[in-house]
Symmetry: C2
Subunit: 503 residues, 2 copies
């Protein structure tokens, strides 16, 4: 079965090339864009040409852009990390699912603290550095720098050992800003071709992390299919799956939740979004808000606490959660139920009260060597971003921050991808490592618009932060524009086809 | 002749209302959005309702949204400022065109320095304040505050006495951030209906200032038509018109240029973009740039200086230019030929060398009481914005800054409205008063996308700067969203129809 047309990713003048590791048997896929020559004509009309170096771009397309790899809906994509896990000898396979051997800690953070540079760490070091290497320069982002950042808890590499298909990528403020996007399943029953097309579409436009939709939480088959065909990591919010299992909020128990996270862990979900920071005492803060709680998981937990008159079980069972997560190296995303849903509520008592609890549980997760991200602000006006980030960095000890829909104004719900991109660029520059627009769409063009807007925001922040080599692409494109090499301008742009229409 | 459908501007649940002045016989048009009630249901199922105040919005649509005014292509729109000019008695009408009486200075800055609060000043004070007044609060933006800002040269009200159709609006860092957009004429020959539709379209999406296209410079009839039908001010770059008159660059002279600006002044052009800062000595700085000079007027002047071996006549005849401008109260936009066309070139020696000359001529313009704006940076990474603005504020003594296409990265030429909006929000927050995306389009949807993106950026900056009442709309929309009043969410959003599709 040959690869279908809509599944293969092609960009003009682009070629998939691989950079080999020096310490480990790894190869990192990148996109190389070939440029035409600059032509000079001197006073006497004599023509001379000057070569322009190809530009190497960060590539999230995995096997979807490698014409040598056949892509079918039946086999799954290559499991590039499988061998790395086998070699480590600290995992066992039970019912065809990997889990840490009794008494072993297998997280990237654990390895990092033990001064072990894993293939994952070398992989991301190469991946973050391509443009610099191409220029013959040395970057400070070495495999050992990656290790140190992970050991310090300042960065994470989402890498559930049961998702060997995912290419390692790193989230942390000293690395390229990453973009997460909600994937909206095609329909209740799995349609493999459609889902595969969708994966390819998200990867084509640079998505770094899938976020699972609330509505899709119980579609185990589709999740399984996506994990087996996704070269990028996958994050879920397991409380939704648990709710679907029991039907009503009052039936929700720790036991059900536990089962759900074990199942999803075995499937290969890389990140769990856990709202462990919302406590009963926070309601006094939310009651005075303009927009209270709007986060769906937050609302659910608030309701559960009200019905049962118990404390949030994600908090009371936090140690139990850690015990499970570390057996698979699942990255913990400490979600914020109280992130502001309006700029009016930003940086308020509710937000910071929850943040302090998140800081406390994050510290406990660290004791288990669990890779952790904390969700930061939502809607925030530009002038309040720095204050919020500073507080977070202090409370959470520089743990990577995730910000979803950081819109800088509330007046554009129909064009939220723009207000969110404006806020995202600023917030990422100030230190947030992962940005997202939480709204989920099924329309392909809308997904693309949103992803591109956030990629532009992320790249603007990378440049402002001085990420090594991040400006190489800008400079090459500007030179092409000045030379009048229109094809090169298009080929280097985020969206070659659209650029060709407008320049 | 009744008003055509495509010309009348309607927004749902919106009404055009007028606020009367206290000091002058003026009325300022605003858009009032009516909201539905918030409905509460208590424990016993009893319903109660709470009224939500209407929200007053800044309105650039002029008579196009006033159903009481008939709009035709033959008569022009109401000349709201005509009476104000007549009353001042310092102007005379020659060949049906107004000009200052011999020896009189008639600029808003001159009046401001003489402690005269003009109708224009009271008009903008009301216009900038609507939401605050609605809340029953007092804002610091009083007519006298406006006067002081203009007297100090920190703000301008573009108001050619021959463009009485334009509603006064103010540009300055202590006021709402304004957005300028290029208008692309329909075709060489004037098609009144089409042009009028276009004016309405730009005004509908919040355009504050028209910028004339290079290609359209010689279409005097169309310019005349637009001026007679535009409720917003109009800016041109007269050097292009002059070039069209003479055909080739070597034929360009001060005499021709002088004729052109007198003609355009009599037509009613509110702002002249004059590239008086580019000197022969600057070529040594541009030669080492990645993207040299790309500004079309800059290239033209550079070529003229090379051919004639003379200094830029816009600089050598600067006093003569001032003598003309002040007779009509034309706002001087000191354009930057050397603003960076790539983030690589931002804040470089060329940019700052030209800026110093602009600072010098701006000072001379001030001596003539000419209202002046200085064009600031182009492509600039987020981390270099503050440095650039600081330098500008110092050199140009807080004269209002204009930034065109302040993209934060060069990799998105096909989606420049996004990279430009990201940079624009940041740069406006830091103190730039007028933002624009310089690319010109004829496609209606593209114009709208671009305008909306920049309006969102401007509004984000207004909030970050703490402009009085600017957050009222955000808060009302957030509350509507939280209440589930979807219609109100749509009606308060920048684009009701699009919002209805996506929420």
């Amino acid at each position: 079965m040959a690869t279908k047309k809509n599944i293969r990713i092609n960009f003009p003048a682009s070629e998939k090339v691989y950079i080999r590791g020096e310490m480990n048997r790894i190869q990192v896929g990148v996109r190389r864009v070939t440029l035409s020559d600059t032509v000079f004509i001197d006073k006497n009309g004599k023509k001379s040409v000057k070569k322009n170096n190809p530009v190497i771009l960060y590539d999230t397309t995995g096997p979807y852009s490698d014409s040598k790899i056949e892509l079918t809906t039946s086999t799954g994509i290559p499991r590039i990390k499988e061998e790395w896990n086998i070699r480590r000898k600290d995992q066992i396979r039970i019912n065809n699912k990997l889990i840490a051997k009794q008494g072993k800690n297998i997280t990237q953070m654990f390895y990092a603290k033990r001064r072990i540079i894993t293939p994952e760490m070398e992989y991301v070091a190469i991946r973050e550095n391509q443009q610099v290497e191409e220029l013959g320069l040395k970057s400070h982002i070495t495999p050992d720098f990656v290790r140190k950042e992970i050991a310090a808890g300042r960065a994470v590499i989402p890498s559930n050992i049961n998702h060997p298909e995912a290419e390692p990528m790193i989230i942390g403020k000293n690395f390229l800003v990453k973009v997460a996007t909600r994937i909206c399943y095609e329909q209740a029953a799995l349609v493999p071709e459609k889902e595969m097309e969708k994966i390819a579409w998200f990867c084509k436009w640079g998505n770094d992390l899938f976020l699972e939709n609330e509505e899709d939480a119980q579609h185990t088959d589709t999740r399984e299919f996506i994990l087996r065909h996704s070269p990028i990591p996958y994050a879920s919010t397991p409380i939704f799956d648990a709710l679907k299992q029991v039907g009503t909020i009052d039936n929700l128990t720790w036991k059900v939740f536990r089962e759900v996270i074990v199942n999803q862990a075995e499937q290969g979900v890389d990140c769990f979004c856990i709202h462990a920071g919302l406590l009963k005492k926070h309601s006094k803060h939310t009651d005075v808000r303009l927009t209270g709680i709007t986060d769906p998981a937050g609302l659910l937990l608030k309701e559960w606490m009200k019905i049962t008159n118990k404390e949030n079980f994600l908090y009371t069972h936090f140690t139990d959660i850690c015990e499970i997560l570390k057996q698979y190296d699942i990255t913990l995303v400490l979600s914020s139920a109280l992130r502001s849903a309006s700029i009016y509520d930003s940086n308020d008592a509710a937000q910071f009260a929850e943040l302090r609890v998140l800081g406390e549980v994050a510290k406990r997760a660290k004791e288990h060597f669990i890779q952790t991200i904390v969700e930061g602000p939502g809607h925030t006006p530009l002038n309040k971003i720095q204050e919020g980030i500073k507080e977070q960095q202090y409370i959470c000890q520089q743990i990577p921050f995730f910000s979803s829909t950081p819109v800088s104004t509330d007046i554009a719900p129909g064009q939220e991808y723009i207000s969110s991109a404006i806020g995202a660029a600023q917030i990422a520059w100030q230190g947030v490592s992962l940005i997202a627009d939480q709204t989920s769409y099924s329309d392909k063009e809308r997904i693309k618009d949103k992803l591109i807007a956030h990629k532009i925001a992320a790249h603007s922040a990378d440049i402002a932060k001085g990420h090594p080599g991040s400006q190489v692409r800008d400079n090459a494109l500007s030179k092409a524009r000045f030379d009048g090499r229109k094809k090169d301008v298009c080929n280097l742009s985020v969206d070659p086809a659209k650029t060709a229409k407008f320049i």
